[in-house]
Symmetry: C2
Subunit: 471 residues, 2 copies
Amino acid sequence: MNSLLGSLLLLIGVVSCKHLPKDEEVCAVLLGNELVEEIAGYKSVTDEILRYVLEGDFKHQTYNGLAKFVDKFGPRPSGSETLEQSIDYMIQLTRDEGITDITTEELEVPQWTRELEQVTLLEPRVKNIAVFGLGRSVSTSPEGITAEAIMVNSFDDLDSLADSDVKGKIVIYDAKFVSYGVSVRYRTEGASRAAARGAVASLVRSITPFSINSPHTGAQNYDNNYPKIPTAAITLEDADMLRRMYDRGEKIVLNIKLISKSDTKTSRNTLIDYKGTESPEKLVIVSGHIDSWDVGQGAMDNGGGIFVSWAVPVILKRLNIKPKRTIRSIFWTAEEMGLIGAADYANKHKNENNNINFIMEADEGTFAPLGLGVGGTQEARCIIAEVLKLFKSINASTLVEQNAPGSDISLFTNSGIPGASLYTENSKYFWFHHTAGDTMNVENEHELDLGTAVWTAAAYVIADISIDIPR
Amino acid sequence: MNSLLGSLLLLIGVVSCKHLPKDEEVCAVLLGNELVEEIAGYKSVTDEILRYVLEGDFKHQTYNGLAKFVDKFGPRPSGSETLEQSIDYMIQLTRDEGITDITTEELEVPQWTRELEQVTLLEPRVKNIAVFGLGRSVSTSPEGITAEAIMVNSFDDLDSLADSDVKGKIVIYDAKFVSYGVSVRYRTEGASRAAARGAVASLVRSITPFSINSPHTGAQNYDNNYPKIPTAAITLEDADMLRRMYDRGEKIVLNIKLISKSDTKTSRNTLIDYKGTESPEKLVIVSGHIDSWDVGQGAMDNGGGIFVSWAVPVILKRLNIKPKRTIRSIFWTAEEMGLIGAADYANKHKNENNNINFIMEADEGTFAPLGLGVGGTQEARCIIAEVLKLFKSINASTLVEQNAPGSDISLFTNSGIPGASLYTENSKYFWFHHTAGDTMNVENEHELDLGTAVWTAAAYVIADISIDIPR
């Protein structure tokens, strides 16, 4: 196989000036006819799953189950009783399906609770500034911090300022949204980088391309080398207004009151196993995180991911479809506080890492599925691409390469375990992400059915094919 | 002319089975070549105006002026000191242009100030319900009203219920958005129609097709035949959640606290005249309302309308273009409280109604202009359609027929005075309408330039052509 691959790569090298070989050509050689035919042979089973979800008894069950769950519990922040109740509820829902191979693993999680958040523009005019504190921000005094604010477009912009321009000031990061990956650094690192220059607080333009005066919360990480300063997100609208005032030379004075409470509580990762018939020790993991931010309802982030992952063992059991490897559905806890649950699992199960054949997480929206975002070797991607061909009828055959698919599972894929995220038509995902607008209104019955079908059928094929996904 | 018209109409009657005559064919006959050529002859002047706004000294001045205004004052609710300060500011801005023919007309306006608005879902779970009280809603007691809620989709739905189903309950109107005109009745009439059935309070699904958990405020009218009950708007998201709970048979209990203060203050309509050279007594009015709701910044509703209307005399004066009739730019006050300023003007000037040649208001957004929405006779529309042909180069030549164009000016057009609104690409207007998201972020520099250019040039031509706009 290796020498064949060498010849192929040589051939690719020769012809690449004229036309780059398509992934498909490479994959054909890498996989060989037998495996391609084997995967294509799953069509009758995957079609059965699609029919069951799209037209059969499971039709709209993901949406309805999710709506009932979200309406019942609402936000499920790390450390809250509601989160634990919602975990109990999902366990009972699973037991009701006759699935009993359920494990919970306890761990300590942070609880960060907002009590008062109020930012007021004092100069050049009095105006309430809509705001959400960022995760684990320290509190101000009850009177708050009153200080002059400066606007910066970037870390470079901040670094170019004299110490005297920053010391004692509130730094407002006003970087326009480029992509989540690029722009989120101002949220996650902004406070400490401002503190490093002597700022007394920092505000960040919400990480979104669109707003109806909606602030977006999210995690941030203090660097222990610098003082911890209060930090919060403001809306695009207020950031733009403050920028205009600043550019006109007007002095901006703000009062920032951010009061929160921090604690540590016990939570749980939840593992639901659907045992493999031939290699039960080998795992295909499907997952989502059950905790959410406190400001919305946690429908999109990540109730949808929980429900499509919960559906995998449920649907396979109902249809009596039994894969060779074990499918493990995991509900991570405390993701929003920094992948706390996933890190605990990775640590407790580090000796079993070799047994994770493939790991999947649906945490980028459960909109209409287009395929999977896959991390792994070329050969691994070729296999998944072949699996995705089974979903041509519902236009979900696209494979996009992702270095770190998913959120929690990046802890695993970063160490070489192949994995995938549910890749969906999520162009509006960040409009609602970490806002009060993360509600059932973002979800759609049919799109959730499509996502459930693809997620279940793909996990099944990967868990059943004759070869392990190579690393 | 009349017998020619008769022949034409007969001809139209004859051929109408095969193809309906186009407006253009009718207009060609109605207007005659001479007038068509006269209007076309304005192209050099209208092009001069377009160039001055789109490429010349006025480029981006509407956006910049509006931004400065909105940033300085923010919301300008009826009866507030801020509104009066913003009127003074606009008068000074006009004087700075060397325009001195400025009149203000005082009138009494309502002031309705929210002090506390808090709605809490108590059953089936505790949840804060985002809310904006509706204009002039009465207050609850400080402890609020705690009662069971019922959901209705329509007034018919409400009327079909037994008295015992409604009495003592909170009525929630959950009518899906069809169009503003159709759906707004649940906001304006909902409280009294619920009170008529014995309800103790009413809530209405916000009048919008889209939301990021954004409540939309707005006016409502109590019917004096029924008790005045507190009333407010909730978000699409909460309305849908409550609907799902209700449909599941869950009992919905809410606590509604709405505390506001009502007063009467003096405000002013502002009239800026650019005198006509031949018939100064004849008026072409351009207008917008300077008051806004308190919850946003009043940039779109209706700062944009104020600034494009302010620009008309300013640009004509700067370019030394002098129409035969007077152009009057009016900033109505207290529109949001129910066209209070416009009604006062209509009353004070009722003897001059015959002198209003044409009346225009830009209160449906200042997005990219597509043309004008016109109310009036067929002949009036034909003339305006001909004027709009002058704006083909910027794709703003569309005439749409509107029975009641504008908001304030409907008081005039309803009595037969021809008039127009600025017709724009405003498909997202109601996403932001009466929300905290009515800010400068909805406005665009180039689109405001286009609107300013069309508004100014159209008003000028109408004020200068040889014939009055027929009624």
